[in-house]
């Protein structure tokens, strides 16, 4: 009886692991697809200043968690990293073509863009400030194609320098 339950638990774990692997693979494919397209400025990143990592943040006006949790997390990130990161906010409802281009399926979704303008990570759903910070610093350290570079000093600056794209 117990061994039967354990076998079933193992099968369930394997199926769930396969699902997670498929999800991970899909994310990797998305990054590669966007990476191939990033020889010029990607749609939605036209306002990004050169050599500045960015967080591309998709939200909608009706997304409650965007306003109550994701936006404050991005404000705290901006407060900590200052001019070392730019937050580009896009209303997925108002700009569905941009959301489709990036493969956004739900909001909030955040993309981490490195200094060279290449997407380095995707976060589906609410993402904490700490995780975003770690991803931005990691992207800043690998400006193009994964070659580590020196992480530059990220000085503090005022909050709310978000640009509406």
């Amino acid at each position: 009886m117990l061994s039967d339950t354990l076998i079933r638990l193992g099968i369930a774990a394997l199926i769930i692991a396969a699902g997670l692997a498929a999800y991970w693979g899909w994310n990797r494919w998305q990054m590669r697809r966007l990476g191939r397209a990033s020889t010029g400025a990607l749609l939605g990143l036209e306002t990004r200043p050169d050599n500045t990592p960015a967080v591309l943040y998709f939200r909608t006006p009706e997304c409650v968690v965007c306003a109550t949790a994701q936006r404050p997390a991005l404000d705290r990130l901006k407060a900590e990293l200052g001019s070392g990161v730019q937050v580009i906010e896009i209303d997925a409802a108002a700009q569905p073509a941009v959301a489709d281009y990036w493969g956004v399926l739900s909001v909030p979704t955040t993309f981490i863009i490195n200094a060279a303008g290449q997407p380095r990570a995707i976060n589906h759903g609410l993402t904490s400030k700490d995780k975003l910070k770690q991803q931005v610093l990691s992207a800043a350290a690998t400006p193009s194609g994964g070659e580590p570079a020196q992480v530059r000093e990220l000085e503090a600056a005022p909050v709310h320098e978000t640009s509406e794209a």
């Binding site: 039967d4 339950t5 079933r8 638990l9 099968i11 369930a12 199926i15 699902g19 999800y23 909608t60 006006p61 009706e62 997304c63 409650v64 968690v65 109550t68 209303d91 997925a92 409802a93 569905p96 959301a99 956004v104 399926l105 739900s106 909001v107 589906h124």
Partner: protein, 156 residues
């Protein structure tokens, strides 16, 4: 179109996924049958079967916030009914001595609910909209403007 609280739908999907995985692990065919009955009841009431978990527990305590979007409720009702029918087949297989087929159908429902919960793609809704394109009677609603059939609307 009308206002549809997608938090209620997601809670419903989470409950279905959790209970069906528990049913599989514990080899409880009765639990799969119970989920099927709740989904069928919800379909008849034209609301998520496990709505009470959201409206009576999660929402009043502020643990889950409403996520109200302009959407068509009919495809979601159809999708739940579709899931209930698949689970009816699963339950029949489980009680008629075909456990492999029965649990495979249970996992199919789990997979589709996971797809809906985490990716925002409602396969049953896509089928509904496909039938709408074929102009079948009873499938009157078209997808929200700018939304791929079956995908969760990004907001209006």
């Amino acid at each position: 179109m009308t206002k549809v609280d997608h938090s209620a739908l997601r809670t419903n999907q989470a409950a279905i996924i959790t209970l069906l995985i528990v049913a599989f692990v514990c080899n409880w065919a009765w639990l799969a049958a119970l989920v099927m009955l709740v989904m069928a009841y919800g379909t008849l009431r034209r609301q998520p079967g496990f709505r009470a978990i959201y409206s009576e527990i999660l929402k009043p305590r502020g643990w889950v916030k409403p996520d109200v979007l302009n959407d068509n409720p009919e495809p979601h009702v159809f999708a739940q009914g579709f899931g209930a029918v698949v689970l009816l087949g699963a339950t029949a297989a489980l009680y008629l001595g075909a456990p492999a087929a029965g649990w495979a159908l249970v996992w199919l429902v789990v997979a589709l609910a996971v797809l809906n919960l985490f990716v925002g793609f409602c396969a049953g809704c896509a089928v509904y909209y496909w039938l709408n394109r074929l102009r079948l009677p009873g499938f009157a609603k078209a997808p929200p403007a700018g939304t791929f059939p079956g995908m969760r609307p990004k907001g209006n």
